[in-house]
């Protein structure tokens, strides 16, 4: 997660990647996922948090997580 730790993340969901100057925006779920990833939480723990926070079932929470992880990988924001 070293790449992720170098990303500046604001409370508004604005992400800045200092090594390239790229910026991104994310929604509330994305922001929670990012912060949990930074804390080193497992995927299972993150899914549980999403279920609690947004009152969704495990399938939807998992879909949100893995879609977002795909986005982070595609933008080279995580290893």
């Amino acid at each position: 997660m070293s790449k992720l730790n170098s990303i500046a993340i604001s409370d508004n969901g604005f992400l800045f990647k200092p090594s390239t100057g790229e910026s991104f925006t994310t929604n509330e779920i994305g922001l929670i996922i990012l912060n949990l990833l930074k804390e080193g939480k497992t995927h299972e723990e993150i899914i549980n948090s999403i279920m609690e926070e947004f009152d969704v079932d495990e399938i939807n929470a998992g879909r949100d997580l893995y879609e977002f992880l795909d986005f982070l990988k595609k933008e080279n924001l995580i290893d």
Partner: protein, 347 residues
Amino acid sequence: MNDKKYTIAITGLNNIDSPGPGVPVIRGIKDSDLNARIIGLAYENLEPGIYMPGLVDKTYLMPFPSTGSEAFLERLAYIHEKENIDIIIPNFDSELYLFIKYSEQLLNMGIHTFLPSLYQFEERHKDNLSEYAKKYNITVPANKAVVNSKDLADLPKPITYPYYIKGKFYEAFKVNNYNQGVFYFNKLSAKWGLPVIVQQSIKGTEVNVIALGDGEGNTMAAVAMRKQYITDKGKAWGGITINDERLLEITHHIIKETKWKGAMELEMIKTEEGDYYLIEINPRIPAWVYLAVGAGQNIPEMLCRLALGEKVEPKETYECGKMFIRYSWDLIGDISDFEKIIVFGEL
């Protein structure tokens, strides 16, 4: 602190859509502790910097470098006699040759510069980039200097379409077919002379570095920037400082190996694979220098101090995520100012 007032002459007051670096250089100096009287040296009577309130203390028109060294030096001597110039910062590629060639003569007059040697200046020319890259172990796109448009029909491999065709000093166009290539060849050769340079287009992000070398191999300052908004002339209209360690490593390597003296701009392409291609070295301060000042490295001030022979501590850090956004602004001038520039060549 030294309170001496220095007279600093600066060219490149053309703050237009393809801006010269003069105005941001002056802003940097004005932001610094230097006590300076600013003399603008302009080549055109409508360069905006001449008329910007509070920017220059006085402006003189200069003859174009193409009119020859005699007229150029005569005019500088005249201005020096009136103003007693301590430092000149030339900001145009096309005038650098003269300033470098006569830097000793200028120094004997009491005018300091901080410029690369003629060898350093010539060596990094666009038409010599392949040799340069080989000598200093840098990656550059395949390129060829072309002196005849017929050569465009038979470019060496691996150059393929699209490629960039570049003028000797300025301007570049993307070329997708032979006819386009010939059209731009004629345009560029008529404007900037020969050779015209063909350079393979590399897919990636354009990243630039402004740097300052002390002439001993040390990097005194270096700030990396990513262009965020590029005009149809290829100029940055917005940019952001970035923390690209590899890019800064390459910069340090080039300055160390070449013992570069003075300011420079490295224009590079970073590919998706993380490879860096050097596409150009500009042997002067770039127009986006004020971003470096805003990020914590006042390169114009450092350059002035180095020119004066002062000891300058290298700047090793800068603020990442600083942005610049250019804008245009209509100045209201008076015909009497324009008249003075036209009739007397000074304002």
